[in-house]
Amino acid sequence: MLTFDRYVTATTLDEAFDALQATPGARLVAGATDLLPWAREGRAGDVHLPALVDVGAIPALTAVTGEDGVLRIGAATSIAACERHPLLLRDAGLLARCAVWFADDQIREQATLGGNLVNASPAGDTLPALLAMNARVVLAARDGAGIRERAMPLADFITGPGRTRLGNNEILVRIDCDAVPGHGGAFEKVGHRRSLVISTVCLAVLARLEPARRTLADVRIAIGAVGPVPERLGDAETALRGQRPTPAAIREAAVLAADRVRSRSRQEYRREVLVNFVERGLVAALEQCGLAVQRLPQEIVHA
């Protein structure tokens, strides 16, 4: 059970910083969908905190804006918003595809992007999607009278399972990422059942063709849940960029993913799924660009 002495619903960043400063040891909360289940038997057990500072109602943290090809997504944007915000649907369709697979309708309304990143679960679903969009996290702290911001690539922010570079008294205010309106996108996830599952393997793909529509101008592949931190498949991306996306080229790139599986359990299963996901994801993303690519037939290998 989670208990605390104070609960502050901040409506501005300043109020949130005031509360953090006034109560050392205070913890931020947004949707609480990670925080509340964490403070239970079997996880952290009973936890008592001096204060919770709710950042979910700070307008700056729920704003979504975009200019010059950069999307600025407030950290407290709900996962549900990814499925319905017009700007996100237009410029970040990949997030909507990811959101569809995230928990269930109800938790998507509560859970936030920022909470998902700071929680830094190896199986966090938005991480690969945001990695593919070249996301940078913007962290704010207050020194003296002013609010100081620093930004870093998402890949640097997440340092391990549950570990990030978020500093003491720092707030994740927003996520800046590439607007990708012209890209085809795909999100793949497998878990034990359809809704409310933790990913066993997840994958995000973005692809864009050259104007002549023969070769790949851009391709980005990010994977999650198969190692301690989600990551981009740099080698597969390099192999494909500027190339014609033939079935053979796609299969070859997909096979490169196999040795990325570094999870502690079910490695063989994950390897097979991951390779298939990369192949299927690339085909699906290209289909959205209007290019139909046939997958190479699979060998049937059961007895």
């Binding site: 269930d104 309708d105 109800q106």
Partner: protein
């Protein structure tokens, strides 16, 4: 005295919440750490919505906040300040039942009913958002809500029916009960169903009495240990604590069990599994009781444990109970004919080992109960017990009272599946009510339910079967070893059932069955749907498939050849006059459009089966992507 955690449970900091709940303005001062579900259930006593898991996984707590459905167990109460909440209790706005609730009733979509309030909320949310929701969209909308006993088909039927009635494409009269002359083969009214679809029915955790106390239990973190010292002084001294109970407070014979009396209501000097109850605290609030539990000091003398039934039977293994040498809890034998000779005559002998795992019942309703004293001194326990008469007898002995001074009331069971047959906490509750002379309520958390309650017996089944070339079974030998866990509970009955039904409904001249239930330091195993038959039948049916493959035979044909017929005698010599097994098999094969022949034909390079896919079979899951397409159309 300051609490080590810094949380003063006796005087928790409070917060003032103003909200509109079910159309009425409410203002309440509640503990600051309340979640929305606590506010609604504990403070407002609106118990239609349940807490099944407390972790966002089950959906029994689904409520609308400002029109958006959320899991209220994951929302700090401050999130509803100044907002509007709708719970299932008043969904009909005092008009009887909503169309959705009537459709649930009509379709029989409520078995235990524990998930149904949440399901109704999810259905309401789905149809509010998408009045013309497709079946895929309905499934997606209900994806966060789990049902363990109705199954999903009737629920989906109900939502689709409600959708059509609401859209006017189906007459409202469809929601009415069909007039029928016969109860057989028709949908008849279930008396408690309206109360289940509206959330009006009370389960044990929904009960509340004036002046009520709350209980919490200290559970062992060790699988096997001697309790050297148990010091409850500090807990007892805490403000708000009414009493702390240990085995020393048991007035009667503290040794009970369904088949073997091997269990105390709280550990008596020894703990034998992780999660065994050691002491119970009764206090003004559950929070105080929880804090007091943390202040109970126990010194354990750790003992080596045994966690594998095969190890437990070996010489020199730790012994769990003095009366059970070799840790054998129950050994059931069936001997018929001469198995060695039978195997010798066989053309084919197939040997294989099968294993099944322990399984959690995961009923949606965690264990709960309320006990109180009647004015005449009769102690009454209300709990979802699946076996109240037996519990009442055991309780009378434990309490050292005549049976007419002990009453058990079976509260609505929110799913049991056998798991609520065991008496786990009713003894502590009764003692607490007697001691305090006040009503006492105890509600398990989901974690506690999983830690303390019995599981399905894991089995290891060594199977040998001899068959004739044409497929006739001539001999079966099954040696089954099962982990019964720390206490017998239903192990003897489960061993009997697995042995009696294990070789299956087949005529076999020579049968040898050993079913051995073994004590270990694991969570006790107990009753679970099929009561042991599941495990041994699983082995038998898997084994027949294996034999059919070796014989190059259609597995259905192999079964038809061996099924018992009218006049057969069971393996335990019970004569059967009418046996419908072959007719059942044929009906099932017809319904499944069974394509005769050996399975795995593709792997042999033969043409694929024709009974997979096709009309009437379920299409593969396209969820998510289906809903996405619609989202795109609308934007």
């Amino acid at each position: 005295m300051p609490d080590p955690s810094g949380f003063d449970a006796a005087h928790p900091p409070t917060t003032h919440i103003v909200a509109t709940v079910n159309g009425r303005k409410v203002a309440r001062t509640v503990p600051i750490h309340y979640r929305v579900i606590d506010f609604v259930r504990e403070e407002l006593k609106l118990t239609g919505n349940k807490e099944g898991c407390g972790a966002g996984e089950c959906g029994t707590c689904s409520m609308f906040v400002d029109g958006t459905l959320i899991k209220s167990c994951l929302a700090p109460v401050q999130k509803i300040h100044g907002r509007t909440v709708e719970t299932v209790d008043d969904l009909d706005a005092d008009q009887g039942m909503t169309v959705i609730q009537r459709a649930f009733h009509k379709c029989g979509a409520s078995q235990c009913g524990y998930c149904i309030p949440g399901m109704v909320m999810a259905a309401t949310s789905t149809l509010r958002k998408r009045p013309r929701a497709s079946l895929d969209e309905i499934k997606e909308g209900l994806g966060g809500n789990i049902c363990r006993c109705t199954g999903y088909q009737k629920i989906l039927d109900a939502v689709a029916m409600a959708r059509d009635v609401l859209n006017g494409t189906r007459p409202e009269t469809d929601l009415e009960e069909a007039a029928t002359d016969s109860f057989i083969g028709s949908r008849t009214r279930r008396l408690d169903a309206p109360a289940k679809v509206t959330g009006a029915i009370k389960y044990a955790a929904d009960l509340w009495m004036p002046n009520m106390l709350h209980m919490q239990v200290l559970r062992s973190p060790h699988p096997h240990a001697r309790i050297q010292r148990l010091d409850v002084g500090e807990a007892r001294a805490m403000p708000g604590v009414e009493c702390v109970l240990t085995c020393d407070d048991v007035p009667g014979v503290d040794n009970f069990g369904v088949f073997i009396e091997d269990q105390p209501i709280m550990a008596r000097g020894m703990v034998r599994y992780v999660g065994e109850g050691i002491a119970a605290v009764v206090a003004e609030t559950a929070d105080i009781a929880r804090e007091a539990v943390k202040r109970i000091r126990v010194t354990y003398d750790l003992l080596p444990g045994v966690f594998d039934p095969f190890e437990a039977m070996k010489e020199g293994a730790p012994q769990l109970h003095g009366f059970a040498p070799g840790n054998i809890c129950k050994h059931t034998r069936i001997r018929k004919g001469d198995v060695e000779a039978g195997l010798g005559e066989a053309d084919l002998v197939v040997q294989e080992t099968y294993r099944t795992s322990a399984l959690e019942h995961a009923y949606l309703e965690p264990e709960a109960g309320l006990a109180y004293l009647e004015p005449d001194g009769c102690v009454t326990v209300m709990s979802p017990s699946q076996n109240i008469t037996h519990h009442r007898h055991m309780l009378a002995r434990i309490l050292g009272r005549p049976i007419n001074k002990v009453r058990m009331i079976m509260s609505t069971v929110g799913g049991g599946f056998g798991g609520k047959e065991d008496m786990l906490y009713q003894g502590m509750l009764a003692l607490a009510a007697i001691r305090t002379r006040r009503p006492v309520r105890y509600v398990f958390t989901r974690e506690e339910s999983i830690a303390a309650s019995a599981k399905r017996h894991p089995f290891s089944i060594d199977y040998t079967m001899g068959l004739r070339r044409g497929g006739l079974i001539v001999a079966t030998r099954m040696i089954m070893v099962s982990d019964g866990g720390a206490y017998a509970m239903s192990t003897p009955g489960v061993m009997n059932k697995s042995a009696i039904l294990g070789p299956g409904p087949y005529t076999i001249p020579n049968v040898w069955v050993d079913a051995i239930g073994v004590y270990t330091n694991n969570t006790p195993s107990g009753a679970f749907r099929a009561f042991g038959a599941f495990q041994s039948e699983f082995a038998t049916e898997s084994h027949l498939d294996l034999c059919a493959e070796r014989l190059g035979m259609d597995p259905a044909q192999l079964r038809r050849l061996n099924l018992m017929q009218d006049g057969a005698t069971t393996h335990t010599r019970q004569p059967l006059d009418r046996v419908a097994a072959t007719a059942c098999l044929d009906a099932a094969l017809a319904a499944a459009r069974w394509d005769p022949g050996v399975p795995h034909r593709e792997a042999r390079g033969e043409p694929a089966r024709i009974d997979l896919g096709g009309p009437g079979t379920r299409a593969p899951c396209t969820l998510g992507l289906g809903t996405m397409a619609t989202d795109k159309e609308t934007t």
